[in-house]
Symmetry: C2
Subunit: 297 residues, 2 copies
């Protein structure tokens, strides 16, 4: 089967996700209006949609229905977006710029940003609980557990807590990795595995994809650290150089630029290898792996 090139595939999925998110979000005119406007402001602000792309790419291996992947991707992306809104708050990273626009608490206010994050998390689980054809309800409950676990204190929120505790501390590379596996890796893994489960992937496939996603999650973070140090605020659409300014341990500060690039290359290769059993069906995951390395923001 002839397939469109990667940029066109990427764009088509991003459009699907934008439409799906748009449909799931409450109408901007329904009360509470300010809260709903803010929820739409932060969620429909574009972004790379890396997690939805991974979910779709993994689902494609097993011919999962696209509408199911849209639904699961939307739930994962809402969790991701809520975490950005809360992370940007003054009590956390205190950032004013996100995707080239004022952060939620700057555009609206702190209380609204807090509630936007809270309500987006609720909506994510609401979306994940809506009936899915071709997946048994038992399995869907297990998929929802996987998402909740990836978002919680042993996943994303826990990683953020470790990150906060570690700011200004000297971390070992294994501690940094543990932090990133929780903070970024688990939700990336959840996105990938939910896509695979939507296509009723077998346990061995899930195991291979879990390993792939683990490598991709770290790769994503190493590249993020490199970009934070080397790219401009303009190119990133968020404040560059924040890590150095806030005295955060990063792969750059621990390894130096050269070794960080070598680490990224090693992770990239391991990610590709983890997909070997899927052959050509994993084309999009291979392409996404290279895209994560090559991205400029």
């Amino acid at each position: 089967m002839a397939r469109v090139d990667f940029p066109r595939w990427q764009e088509s999925i991003q459009k699907r996700i934008e439409s799906a998110l748009e449909a799931y979000l409450p109408n901007a005119n329904s009360p509470p209006v300010r809260l709903h406007q803010a929820m739409r402001y932060v969620t429909l602000a574009g972004g790379k949609r890396v997690r939805p792309l991974l979910c779709h790419a993994a689902g494609e291996i097993f011919s999962a229905p696209l509408t199911t992947l849209d639904q699961l991707s939307s739930a994962v992306e809402m969790i991701h977006v809520y975490s950005l809104v809360h992370d940007d708050l003054p009590a956390m990273d205190n950032d004013v710029l996100r995707r080239g626009k004022p952060t939620c608490h700057i555009q609206f206010d702190e209380a609204t940003a807090l509630l936007v994050g809270d309500a987006l998390q609720s909506l994510a689980f609401y979306v994940a609980a809506q009936p899915i054809a071709d997946v048994t309800p038992e399995k869907q409950l297990a998929m929802l557990s996987l998402l909740a676990n990836a978002a919680g204190s042993r996943g994303m929120a826990g990683g953020q807590a470790i990150d906060l505790e570690a700011t200004g501390e000297s971390l070992e590379i294994v501690e940094l990795e543990f932090m990133h596996v929780q903070k970024t890796g688990q939700l990336i893994q959840a996105a990938t595995l939910l896509g695979a489960h939507a296509g009723n992937a077998q346990p061995m496939d899930i195991q291979n994809l879990a390993h792939f996603a683990n490598r991709i999650g770290l790769l994503f973070q190493v590249v993020d650290d490199i970009l934070d140090a080397e790219a401009s605020t303009h190119a990133l659409g968020k404040t560059a150089g924040k890590d150095a300014d806030s005295n955060k341990a990063t792969y750059l500060t621990l390894l130096g630029a050269k070794s960080a690039h070598v680490l990224a290359e090693g992770l990239r290769e391991e990610a590709h290898e983890a997909l070997s059993s899927f052959g050509d069906n994993a084309l999009r995951l291979h392409q996404l792996t290279d895209y994560i390395v090559a991205r400029k923001s």
Copy 2:
């Protein structure tokens, strides 16, 4: 069947809930330690456990298994507790005292309080998604949707947004009621209906209980407003007189003390009437209704 008196029943359910929450919460020694300690600090701080009591009382009508009610009650209570932690933050109500102890951001710090709320919400949905005997997975997904909806922008979080917007504004009584139905009423209703669904209640029963819970939710708030004005900080375990200080519209400020007491009595009677079809099986819900009026904190 002879039944224990209300205080003993209440105490036995509170003990069950405390144990269930304790078991669901991450161990205080597992990393991230500070986050997990804070999650336990806010969740295991006692409290009246009104929502778990409603869930158990409604489930009892339909002979729902107690362990199922413990599970669902825990999920609802985690949503409630997370909302208290976020509401107490400086960007929201800026409160320092809760259940007689320092609030989470005072005892720990703001960033931790933010993450405690976030992680508790994730954990609530994780708990709600764990397998339940005697309830079909389809139905459990619908129950989870009900909980997510009650927590989100059209429920609790939305009510909080309306409350924030309304502070300092003059509200009509219907607007105040709409705000409370969202902010407090929907989660109280969810607690009640989840208990009933756990016992496979029929649609007509659900309809009656939904009406009961709507009255109870408002009753709870009217009594809260009365207590805020008339009780001491010591008796409440949280700062008294906050409403007047922050120029908030309450049933007291809109109606005056005498009419607020009359309104409470009317709601109490309507709540009892809504239970008429359940006969003696609804004993605990009748008792809870009177307890909500008679409570001193």
